[in-house]
C-alpha cells in the first residue's frame, strides 16, 4: 500500500495527466472538509437539543397540547421542583446509589487489578474474561440475571442464603434491599471498567521502581502506598469521575429490575424525567428536572475533582 503511493505516483504524475479523483486542495481547505461534518452533527444533534431543553425548562411546553401558544413561565418549574418532595426522593435515591456503587467498584477494581498485575500465567485469560460484563446489555443483565437470580421464592441467591442458615432476603418488596440489589447488579457489570483502567495504569509503572524499593527494605504495604498509589492517581481520578457521572445517569437497570419500586424507593432522577417528560408529556417540568440533574452532577463531579486535587497536593 505504502509503496504504491510513494513510488508509483510521481512517475504517473509526470507521464500522464492527473486522473480526476486526484484533485488537489490545499491543507487549509482539507482540514475544514474533514472537521466540519463532525461539528455539524454534534451541533445540530447534541448542542441544539441541549439548548432546546434549557429553553423548555423555562416554559409551559407540553407534548400533548398542540396549537396552544407556549408561554414563558420564568423559574416556575424550578420552584415547583424544589418544593416537590417526590422529586427530592429521586435525587436522594440517585445520590445513595452513586455513593454505594462507586466505592464498591473502586474496591473490587483495585483488588482484582492488583491481583491481575501480580500474576503472569493466565493474565490474558482473566483480562479477556473480565471484559465480558461490559459487552452485555444492562437490560439483559437486569432481566435475566437480576430478576431470575434474586427472585424471592426460588432464586439461587436466596436459596444460597437459606442454605447458609439465613432467611431469604425480600429483594423486591423491601425498600432498602431493592436498592442494595440494584447496587449489586451495577457492581457486577461495571467493576470490570475499573479493573481494566487500573490494570492499564499498573502496567505503566516501571517494575524497577518496586525492585529498588524492595532492595531498600520497603514492605509491600509501603511500596503500594508510596510508589503504586501516587503513580496511579491520575488514572484513578479519571476512572472514578467517569463512574460517578455514569452512576448519576443510571436508569435502565432500575426500570427493568424494580421499576422504581417498591413505592418510590428506587426511582432515580432519570426515571422520573422519563415518567414526567415522555410518559406524562410534561416537557417543561421534565426539562427542568434534567437540568437539575445536570447541576447535581456538576456539583458532585466538581467537588470530587477539587478534593482529589487537594489530596494530591498534600501528598506531594
Amino acid at each position: 500500500m505504502a509503496s504504491d503511493s510513494t513510488v508509483m505516483v510521481p512517475q504517473k504524475a509526470q507521464t500522464r495527466p492527473k486522473r480526476h479523483f486526484e484533485f488537489e486542495l490545499p491543507d487549509k481547505t482539507w482540514r475544514w472538509i474533514l472537521l466540519l461534518p463532525a461539528v455539524i452533527v454534534v451541533v445540530v444533534l447534541l448542542a441544539i437539543p441541549i439548548l432546546w431543553t434549557l429553553y423548555a425548562a423555562f416554559t409551559d411546553l407540553h407534548l400533548f397540547r398542540i396549537g396552544v401558544p407556549t408561554s414563558f413561565v420564568g423559574l416556575k418549574n424550578f420552584d415547583t421542583l424544589l418544593h416537590n418532595s417526590s422529586f427530592w426522593r429521586t435525587v436522594k435515591n440517585t445520590v445513595i446509589f452513586m455513593l454505594g456503587v462507586v466505592p464498591a467498584q473502586l474496591i473490587v477494581g483495585m483488588g482484582v487489578a492488583l491481583c491481575l498485575d501480580n500474576i503472569t500465567r493466565g493474565r490474558k485469560f482473566f483480562r479477556t474474561w473480565f471484559l465480558m460484563p461490559l459487552m452485555v446489555s444492562p437490560v439483559v443483565v437486569s432481566f435475566v440475571v437480576g430478576r431470575m437470580l434474586f427472585a424471592e421464592d426460588i432464586g439461587p441467591v436466596n436459596e444460597f442464603l437459606r442454605f447458609l442458615g439465613f432467611k431469604g432476603i425480600p429483594w423486591f418488596t423491601n425498600s432498602t434491599w431493592a436498592m442494595v440489589m440494584l447496587m449489586i447488579v451495577d457492581v457486577w457489570q461495571w467493576s470490570s471498567f475499573m479493573i481494566l483502567m487500573l490494570m492499564a495504569g499498573l502496567q505503566g509503572i516501571p517494575p524497577d521502581l518496586h525492585e529498588a524499593a524492595n532492595v531498600d527494605g520497603a514492605t509491600a504495604w509501603q511500596s503500594f502506598w508510596r510508589i503504586t498509589m501516587p503513580l496511579l492517581v491520575p488514572i484513578l481520578v479519571t476512572a472514578l469521575l467517569i463512574r460517578i457521572i455514569d452512576a448519576f445517569k443510571v436508569v435502565d437497570i432500575v426500570m427493568v429490575l424494580t421499576g422504581g419500586g417498591p413505592g418510590q424507593a428506587t426511582e432515580t432522577v432519570t426515571l422520573a424525567i422519563y415518567r414526567t417528560g415522555v410518559k406524562g408529556g410534561d416537557l417543561a417540568f421534565g426539562s427542568s428536572q434534567a437540568y437539575f440533574l445536570m447541576i447535581i452532577m456538576l456539583v458532585f463531579g466538581g467537588a470530587f475533582l477539587f478534593m482529589s486535587r487537594r489530596a494530591l497536593g498534600r501528598s506531594d
Binding site: I48, I50, V112, C115, I119, G122, R127, L131, V145, I235
Partner: protein, 284 residues
C-alpha cells in the same frame, strides 16, 4: 517467612481472588444458559442447578424461538442489527475524519479546545436529550423509525470516535505521510492509503465499541420507538411487562441470542477493545 514463601503466598491469594471474581461473573451466564434448556416444570418448588441431574434439559425454548416464532423475534433482531451497524459506520467515518484533522492540522491554537468541546457533550445526561429528540422526531414524522435511532446513535457516538481517533492518529508517525506527500501523493490518497490502514486497530476498536453501545442502548429506544422500530432490549422488556407471568426459558434463549455475538466479538478483539476503552482516559 522467606521471600520465596511470601511470593508463593501472594500468588496464591491473587489466584484465589481472580478465580472468585471470575466465578461471580460466570454464574449468571451459566444460569441463563441452563435456563434456556429448562421447561415450565423445572420452575416448581425449588431451583434446579445441574442439567441431567436436577432436571431434564429440553430444546423447547430454542425450538420456540427459531421455528415457531421466528418472525416475531426477527423484527427486533434485524432492527438492532441494522441500526447498530449503520449508525456505527456513520459515526466512524465522520468521527475519524475529524480525528484525523485534529491530529494533523492546526486550527489556530484551538485543537484541544475543539476536542474538549466534542467531549463535553458526553457529560450531559441522556435524560437531557430524550425530551428534545422526542419533539424533534415527532415534528419530522420519524418517530418509531430505524432512521431516528440511526441518527441519534451515530451523533451520540461521534464525540467518542473523535476523541479516541485523534489520540490514535497522533501516535502514528507523521514521517510516512510527509514522505508520501513529497512523492506527490494527494491528501485524499494519503488519508485512504496510508493513515486509515495504519489506524486500522484503533478503527476496529472504536467501531466495535460503537456497535456494542448502539446494540445495548435502552433509554433513547424506549423514548423513540414503540412498535415498528423496537430493538432487542426493548423487545425483551415488553415480553415481561405485558404478561406479568414470564416464560423465563424463552427469555433466556432470546437473551443469549442477543448477547453472545457481541460478547464473542468483544472478547476476540480484547486487546483493541481494552485499548479503546482505556486509551482516551489514560491521556486525559
Amino acid at each position: 517467612m522467606g521471600i520465596k514463601a511470601r511470593k508463593r503466598l501472594s500468588l496464591t491469594i491473587s489466584y484465589i481472588v481472580l478465580g472468585l471474581w471470575s466465578l461471580i461473573l460466570f454464574f449468571p451466564i451459566y444460569w441463563v444458559v441452563i435456563t434456556s434448556f429448562k421447561s415450565q416444570v423445572d420452575f416448581a418448588v425449588k431451583s434446579r442447578y445441574l442439567p441431567f441431574i436436577d432436571f431434564q434439559p429440553t430444546l423447547n425454548a430454542w425450538r420456540y424461538l427459531f421455528v415457531e416464532r421466528l418472525n416475531w423475534f426477527m423484527t427486533p433482531f434485524m432492527n438492532s442489527l441494522i441500526v447498530a451497524f449503520i449508525s456505527s459506520i456513520i459515526a466512524l467515518v465522520i468521527g475519524s475524519m475529524a480525528g484525523y484533522a485534529l491530529a494533523r492540522f492546526k486550527f489556530g491554537r484551538h485543537n484541544n479546545s475543539i476536542v474538549l468541546g466534542f467531549m463535553s457533550q458526553r457529560m450531559f445526561p441522556g435524560a437531557l436529550f430524550i425530551l428534545a429528540f422526542l419533539v424533534m422526531f415527532r415534528e419530522l414524522h420519524l418517530l418509531d423509525t430505524r432512521t431516528a435511532l440511526v441518527i441519534v446513535y451515530a451523533s451520540g457516538a461521534v464525540p467518542f470516535v473523535v476523541w479516541v481517533m485523534r489520540d490514535f492518529f497522533e501516535t502514528l508517525p507523521v514521517e510516512i505521510e510527509e514522505s508520501a506527500m513529497i512523492d506527490g501523493a494527494s491528501r485524499l490518497r494519503i488519508i485512504f492509503r496510508i493513515a486509515m490502514p495504519l489506524a486500522a486497530p484503533g478503527l476496529v476498536a472504536v467501531f466495535v465499541l460503537c456497535l456494542i453501545g448502539a446494540w445495548n442502548e435502552y433509554l433513547v429506544a424506549l423514548t423513540l420507538s414503540f412498535r415498528e422500530a423496537i430493538t432487542i432490549p426493548l423487545f425483551m422488556q415488553m415480553q415481561v411487562s405485558t404478561t406479568g407471568y414470564t416464560e423465563w426459558w424463552n427469555m433466556s434463549a432470546i437473551a443469549l441470542v442477543s448477547v453472545v455475538p457481541v460478547m464473542i466479538a468483544g472478547m476476540l478483539l480484547e486487546k483493541y477493545i481494552t485499548g479503546g476503552l482505556t486509551f482516551g482516559a489514560l491521556k486525559g
